[in-house]
């Protein structure tokens, strides 16, 4: 759409400042995994991508699976970022699936409300989109650890669900974005869950606090790992970007370490 100044996060995610190389939605067909920890929340990256997905193309659509916060939270946050979720919802571009109280039935009970039903709902929403809106669809999941909790701790169900979503989005050139809390899986037995998802991801965004502790001017550091695959030669290169960030109400500033005056 309009040529905005691209910040470091946009560049790391694959937006190009050169209009000739610019795809309308560079996250199409890709899975972006955002990882954070207790000290530093990575939700701002989701908000950033959510906003970008609306501004990228006039007929893009977003399906938001919210396990962590109610709609009014996101509405207020995005409004300050300059994006009106209510009007996007009214024009059929924003679909909010409230999963806050979703609890999958335990084994043995009929699986009406399980993750399979959630996936079917996503498919149904997408199929009901107009053909215009179907071109640029983004599915956002906030967040995976709550998804696992809703599945009663069955990491297999959670992984299966993610696989299904990944297949759906990669085959149809939709974008998939998910947030996960990395520090929950740092002990041995559960780390395979995290590793599987990291392996699946095309772009990995790791949000950490600064090694020196919290600061008012720099809220943390980000490492973006972009696994670009050049399909012609089958060569895959990995681009790594490291920078710091400061979160504000109406914007997040990204800058290289030490470059902030």
């Amino acid at each position: 759409m309009e040529q905005q100044g691209l910040d470091l996060m946009d560049q790391a995610l694959g937006f190009h400042s050169n209009k000739a190389q610019q795809q309308p939605w560079p996250l199409s067909g890709r899975f972006v995994l955002v990882e954070d920890c207790v000290d530093t929340s990575g939700a701002f990256v989701l908000h950033h991508i959510l906003k970008r997905s609306f501004t990228s193309h006039p007929s893009s659509a977003v399906i938001f699976l919210a396990f962590a916060n109610p709609i009014n939270h996101y509405d207020r946050v995005l409004r300050k970022l300059g994006c009106n979720l209510a009007s996007q919802r009214d024009t059929g571009r924003f679909f909010f699936l409230d999963m806050l109280m979703l609890q999958c039935p335990v084994e043995g009970e009929p699986n009406h409300d399980g993750l399979a039903a959630v996936f079917e709902k996503i498919e149904r929403v997408i199929s009901e989109l107009s053909p215009e809106n179907k071109k640029f669809v983004t599915v956002i999941i906030d967040d995976i650890s709550c998804l696992e909790l809703a599945a009663n701790g069955s990491s297999n169900d959670a992984i299966d669900f993610l696989h299904y979503c990944y297949t759906l989005t990669s085959e149809n050139d939709y974008a998939l974005v998910a947030l996960n809390h990395r520090d929950i899986y740092s002990d041995g037995e559960r780390s395979t869950f995290k590793l599987e998802i990291e392996y699946l991801a095309d772009i990995l965004v790791k949000v950490d606090p600064l090694a020196t502790g919290l600061a008012k001017d720099v809220h943390g550091q980000v490492m973006v790992l972009n696994k670009e695959t050049q399909k012609q030669h089958g060569i895959s290169s990995i681009k790594v970007h490291n920078f710091h960030f400061k979160i504000k109400e109406n914007n997040t500033e990204y800058f290289y370490a030490g470059s902030r005056t």
Binding site: V38, R76, L85, S145, L149, A150, H181, I247
Partner: protein, 361 residues
């Protein structure tokens, strides 16, 4: 024929039911938040106003010390003083007995607002005041106004009977429960009274759940069950005018379960005991003898916003002023003697996650 619509978000909760500053014990905050007092004025200041209505506060206990009970007592007592209904749950057989230990407001002659009396004496150093970056947060000359929101609670004076025996308090014992379903239902009933959506009560309510995963409970090894209880409690609380305070001992849970609980918390605090007669610590910190423990603020609730709260310091010493009033103070490094050269000043706590044994500042 276009009708002009006033820009009202259809997602916004119906806040007209909360009459804020006129209502006793409620305070307006940024981003549409409403605060209630934690019962400890220092903690309210640290958190930027108090506990946010609709938020989940989790306090990580130290298995070796009961300091979390001090926080709970003040929280519960403050609510009862403001006639805010309370639901209290504990793993003891008779939770009502605990209510007898709730503190009462101290007598007014024990004024604990720390007047900077030293300023009268240090007239020589006046020009250095401009270098102090610590903001003088509302040194209240109007003590009456402050007491409407947060009372100075005297831990040695029990709360008057009529506050406890009123219909405001409901107690649940979870000692003999096979699982948390009973507690979940009681919480759901309680929260429904304060729901923001269907014009529930316009006042605030408080839920205090003490040591909810302690080993004496039968469900304490059912980690997913406990996690989903907290998750559903958080979801229900979010759309109500209630603050839920839950304390739990992280050392008795698996690390990943403890981390999940920490992530679910909107406000996350932890209390730690400090050893008596520790000579190293006595050298390092001033006022060590008066310290009862340490408080760490890991996360402060920021509902409806993405901006994190960065505090000047995250570690505070817990002291009992005059052996009655709970206060939190920034840690002060003791002056280093000899040619060390480091000056006497405030030692900001780093936010690094602290291990149980070593004390990281």
């Amino acid at each position: 024929m276009a009708t002009t619509r006033t820009r009202v978000s259809s997602f916004a909760p119906n806040l007209s039911s909360v009459k804020s500053s006129q209502h006793l014990g409620l305070k307006n905050g940024p981003n549409g938040a409403t605060f209630i007092s934690s019962g400890i004025s220092d903690l309210d200041k640290i958190l930027g106003g108090g506990f946010t209505l609709g938020s989940l506060v989790m306090i990580m206990e130290d298995a070796e010390a009961p300091h979390h009970m001090l926080l709970l007592r003040n929280f519960m007592s403050q609510g009862l003083l403001h006639r805010q209904p309370l639901l209290y749950s504990s793993p003891s057989k008779d939770p009502r007995g605990f209510l007898g230990t709730l503190p009462s407001p101290g007598s007014s002659k024990d004024d604990i607002s720390r007047e900077p009396s030293h300023e009268k004496d240090l007239r020589i150093a006046w020009q250095y005041k401009k270098y102090f970056s610590v903001p003088q947060l509302n040194i209240n000359t109007n003590n009456g106004g402050q007491h409407d929101y947060c009372n100075d609670l005297d831990l040695r004076k029990p709360l008057e009977r009529h506050f406890i025996t009123s219909n405001n308090v409901d107690c649940v014992s979870i000692q003999n429960s096979q699982n948390l379903d009973v507690l979940k239902d009681r919480c759901a009933e309680f929260l429904a009274q304060f729901s923001r959506n269907e014009g529930g009560s316009s006042s605030a309510g408080r839920i205090a759940i003490q040591s909810f995963c302690s080993p004496q409970c039968k469900y304490s090894d059912m980690e997913w069950h406990m996690l989903s209880f907290i998750r559903s409690l958080k979801g229900m609380a979010r759309s109500s005018n209630v603050v839920v305070v839950v304390t739990f001992p992280p050392s008795l849970l698996s690390p990943s379960c403890s981390k999940r609980l920490q992530h679910m918390a909107d406000t996350l605090l932890s209390v730690r005991a400090i050893p008596d007669e520790d000579k190293e610590l006595a050298k390092l910190l001033t006022g060590y003898q008066d310290m009862v423990g340490l408080l760490n603020v890991h996360k402060v609730a920021r509902l409806n916003t993405q901006v994190p709260v960065i505090l000047e310091a995250t570690t505070f010493s817990i002291k009992l002023q005059k052996r009655k009033y709970l206060v939190f103070e920034c840690l002060n490094q003791a002056p280093v003697d000899g040619s060390g050269g480091s000056s006497y000043g405030n030692y900001d706590g780093c936010s690094r996650s602290t291990k149980a044994v070593s004390l990281d500042f």
